[in-house]
Symmetry: C2
Subunit: 261 residues, 2 copies
């Protein structure tokens, strides 16, 4: 693992619930030496990726990240393009929706929308990377990704997150066949003990999977009928998201989502 990766990894410890982190906490979280962590932190700070609170001495994400995200969105809009799709879907189904894109062997959240009304809500942390094998989005992506990629992911190991997380490569593979056939991935309490979700893939310009659109609902409310009721809007959303990104659903599969929408 290179020095750059070690430093950038530190940034991934931030989340909605952990907006600022001190040196000692970073040391605990990363398991690396204090001196090393400290040098990485100061170098990240010098570059504007972190910013230290002079009083508490804790670090938070810095302004450079804002500036760079501005550049990316200005030149290659994705969040602004997916936001209306995600919002519309969240409003019509009344549940939490999120769009995430493939980054290495995980998913990186791009936008999420909490529904307007409703009592119990699914909590979503846009800061957390999502594992492919334990999320409906991830399964939707894997089902339409090159086989070499899937093998690589499965070989890397499938950590259990809840009791229901699929940790066996064979089990995942057969589920992927199902997903490929139906076009939708459904998963029950495999990532969060209290959440069920279904996800549909989103594609890029040359028909390659780039991410997924997913609806998450409290498991107590997740009947089969409810899931089915959501499906058409979800498929429609994925088609819209793909189009909005300038992509196209792969022709040999396109009918699945068109039929539902």
């Amino acid at each position: 693992m290179g020095t750059i990766t070690k430093a950038l990894d530190l940034l991934n410890f931030f989340s909605r619930k952990r907006p600022a982190i001190g040196l000692s906490e970073f040391v605990k979280l990363s398991g690396r030496d204090k001196a090393t962590v400290h040098r990485h932190l100061t170098e990240l700070e010098e570059n504007g990726f972190l910013q230290q609170n002079p009083e508490t001495r804790a670090y938070r994400l810095g302004p450079a990240i804002l500036r760079l995200s501005g550049v990316r969105e200005a030149t290659y809009p994705m969040r602004s393009v997916l936001r209306p799709v995600v919002r519309d879907l969240a409003d019509t189904v009344g549940e939490l929706v999120h769009a995430s894109v493939l980054q290495g062997e995980m998913l990186s959240p791009v936008v999420h929308a909490d529904p307007l009304g409703h009592g119990t809500q699914v909590h979503f942390d846009e800061g957390e990377m999502l594992p492919l094998h334990a999320t409906s989005s991830g399964l939707a992506v894997m089902a339409f990704a090159p086989d070499a990629f899937v093998s690589r992911v499965l070989k890397a190991g499938l950590p259990g997150i809840t009791q229901r997380t699929l940790t066996d490569a064979g089990a995942v593979r057969s589920l992927l066949d199902e997903v490929r056939a139906t076009g939708v991935a459904r998963l029950d309490r495999a990532f969060d003990e209290e959440v069920s979700s279904q996800g549909v893939p989103v594609f890029g310009p040359s028909g390659e999977v780039v991410g997924a659109l997913s609806v998450a609902i409290p498991a107590v409310r997740a009947s089969e009928e409810k899931m089915n009721a959501i499906l058409p809007a979800l498929c429609d959303g994925a088609v819209q998201a793909t189009r909005a990104l300038g992509g196209q659903m792969p022709p040999e599969h396109a009918a699945k989502w068109a039929a539902n929408a």
Copy 2:
């Protein structure tokens, strides 16, 4: 210069006009060895800070930046908080407005707003870092920053950008005295041959400067009257921006901006 800084520096070459950059171009821009640059690029890509176009092989900013900016905005909103202030100001004065924050010894843009109507417009690149000595925002910040900081900046050297850029430390110092007295920094064609601008500082919770709000107008249109006409709205905007960030104008200076607004 550490490895981390060298790698992160590569990200700063992106801008609105340069949304994707190939290996050779990075080598030219950075002046570093090809092998080194290539390793840095791939490591940044592995961490989601870059993303390579498989066809052109050029790199663009990656999804991790989006995710992190989401976390920052969710936990410490700044862009979303400053946007309405910047927009309102742009609408009332009919000129380009931007808010930028201090990052090391430069300014990092946070939000900008182009005015609605108007023929000639000032172009603003949210990806470019702004030098303190050559921008009205920068002077506004320096005028209210600790003296040690100013000395450090002036000692670091003052590169000329246009013919009118102040490159003499003494000249900058005396201009800063003026800015401190009036509360506003005015600069004519010191950063862009065709642009004049005026900036007002924005402060943080304990009365320290954190950035500036600035209006930029085409130099041809920048009469003294025009500048004066803009001033009240600009001062008001800076007061609002400071308040919105949970900051406070330093009591001994606050009257300057209140009087104008």
